[in-house]
Symmetry: C2
Subunit: 393 residues, 2 copies
């Protein structure tokens, strides 16, 4: 497996483009394929997601294209919001020359405001004329969907060779209001792998469980989260080797996008990777890794380059995972500070220096089983507070 250029357009047949303006952005993607999606578990699911679920249900997952707007989430906008989402998709379908039923819609941004449909239609018209199957188009689309994100998030990989060769490419946004199941995050992933609908669905769930569901930025779950996975292949067979390659590629793409989100989170200076090993169940491994990554106090400690492992102990203790003080080991930036319950002598100043980089790894061995999991988060800085006390309704 190796990374290749081109983001979502690395996948044959995917065309994309986008425009980024002051306070708003719009992207279009055109590709024929079979699509499966995962949507926020927030009770106030936003209108675009309701429309997507409806359409995917009706067509059995047929995908011809999608329009994505940023700046306004079209969330908590009621039946008018649903009308707006439908009209947005209809107009995008018309401009892209594809069936309305197979055109999806997605939005991210401020909650509780009607969309500016005039602006959106102007942007759709403009972007539709620049759709292209090429990395520039993918870049423009990846750029267009950002809000407070600092950098665009796209990645593509090629796995396997010959007739088993599979390409998976994805793009995402997500910088705040990010917490498992899922996040203010949108991710759009494409592949050329020939897969059955059930395999597509199953693989997406498994990869999301290991990536976006293990990502936490501020503990707030948004109303607009969605991940769409589309295969542009029109063959529906599941060849074992292809499926294996695809699974590998998909997981890589999801994890990389999740890490980019944590790294590029609002105000973040450091990616925090929490690996929990030796848990007595997978659920325990996952929930303890997530809880530690989500601890406000750990996040501020990492920001201050302070190896405050007591806060890791506290978070682990309330995570609900089975753990015992006597078998617990903790390493920060590969330095063991606790080993099998024994507090280690470590060079505090040295460790502080090691923590002063853009990625800090926390390793926790519960010593009571064989399960492991990795979660991603980021530190909490004054800058996060600044950004979010100014971002306004």
């Amino acid at each position: 497996m190796f990374e290749i250029d081109g983001g979502i357009c690395a996948v044959e047949g995917v065309e994309a483009s986008g425009v980024k303006e002051e306070g708003s952005g719009l992207a279009l993607i055109r590709a024929r394929g079979l699509c499966t999606g995962m949507f926020t578990k927030n009770r106030f699911m936003a209108p675009p997601l309701i429309v997507c679920k409806e359409k995917l249900g009706k067509t059995g997952g047929k995908f011809s294209g999608i329009v994505i707007s940023s700046g306004n989430a079209n969330s908590y906008t009621g039946s008018e919001g649903i009308e707006d989402a439908r009209e947005m998709a209809r107009f995008a379908a018309e401009c892209m020359g594809i069936p309305e039923d197979e055109t999806l819609v997605s939005s991210t941004g401020i909650i509780g405001r009607r969309l500016d449909m005039k602006l959106i239609k102007r942007q759709i018209e403009k972007v539709a004329q620049t759709l292209e199957h090429g990395k520039e188009g993918a870049h423009r689309a990846a750029e267009a969907i950002l809000t407070t994100d600092r950098e665009k998030k796209e990645v593509a990989v090629e796995v396997g060779e010959g007739k088993n060769r599979v390409v998976v490419g994805g793009m995402a946004k997500g910088a705040g209001m990010v917490y498992p199941n899922m996040a203010t995050m949108l991710a759009f992933i494409f592949t050329d792998a020939p897969l059955s609908p059930s395999t597509l669905k199953e693989c997406l769930k498994q990869s999301v469980d290991k990536s976006f569901h293990m990502l936490t930025i501020d503990g707030d779950m948004s109303t607009n989260d969605m991940v769409l996975l589309t295969t542009v292949s029109n063959r529906r067979e599941d060849i074992p080797q292809v499926k294996e390659n695809f699974t590998k590629g998909l997981e890589y793409v999801c994890v990389e996008l999740a890490k980019m989100m944590a790294k590029g989170a609002e105000g973040a200076t450091t990616l925090i990777t929490v690996e929990v090993r030796g848990a007595s169940s997978l659920e325990d491994a996952r929930k303890s890794a997530r809880t530690i990554a989500n601890s406000t106090l750990l996040k501020t400690a990492v920001y201050g380059r302070d190896p405050n492992w007591g806060r890791i102990v506290a978070a682990l203790g309330y995570s609900g995972a089975r753990a015992s003080p006597d078998t617990l080991s903790i390493a920060i930036a590969d330095v063991w500070v606790v080993k099998s319950g024994e507090i280690q002598n470590f060079d505090y100043e040295e460790l502080k220096k090691k923590m002063d980089c853009d990625e800090v790894k926390i390793t926790v061995d519960l010593g009571c089983g064989k399960y492991s999991a990795v979660a991603w988060g980021c530190d909490l800085s004054e800058e996060y507070v600044r950004i979010n006390s100014e971002f306004s309704t």
Copy 2:
């Protein structure tokens, strides 16, 4: 019911004192009575709490006094930590001239370090000599248990008249690592009400559910939380009118202490009170109020005096409580921004100004039932980040 002076020493027979030094503090309380406690649900319960639970179990709740140290939590210190806690209680009992079995122990501060027993013993000896039944003693004790708290937290009330008159007095600490069940919070409450052990226990649970369990500062639950309630009365009857007065007084004391914690939280500039009404169950009312108060994004919005009600909608949506967009109403600082699902026209600048005070009230009416609950939290400022990125192991 009215507030009276004197904190815990407002209760007849309670003697207290304390000393606050650079980086550490120590308080002693002496009073004969019947005690019931609630302890952290964190799996890594700290040694002092283990010792307290043991003693209370053995003696059936007999209380003669307690020693409380601040600066070092004596947490994650293993069997040595348990020995230290026992020795701390033993030495305090000796100095106060009370039975060792009936002397409890509590600590708060940094996790993962052995206590400096020499320092603690020196402080115990000193403080034991200044024990007094008077408000100065109560003040010194309330001051001694603080860590990053900005102000001491004590309150006492008198409820009812004549033979039904009841006094309840309490003191607490808690400024960070604070989240339901319970918090890095210690609370010590005394009363002169003659109550049976079961009533004492039941009343404490009910009051804690409405106060400390509805308090959230940063979502981190500590290893050292405890609330102790002691009645100094040696009568064990439950006179209905007395019980009623006591319940009222206890609830008031717990709520006031919880509010003081939120108001005085690390870096906080504003107390956030979230009242949820119209819920279809008490559990729904409580969890939605808590989830909203705990939303990092709402906390930063309040800090920025930004009436960002979309973040309230998002938090409510992931709280798990039953809610519908169509029946939802939201008010910020008594200004309705959403009414029965309709977004209201409100004067944004005016509301921003109204939010610029030391207490902001969020009212949410779910419009689907008759249950209500109140939760307390505080805003999230750059100062919180500063304090917690510097507070070091």
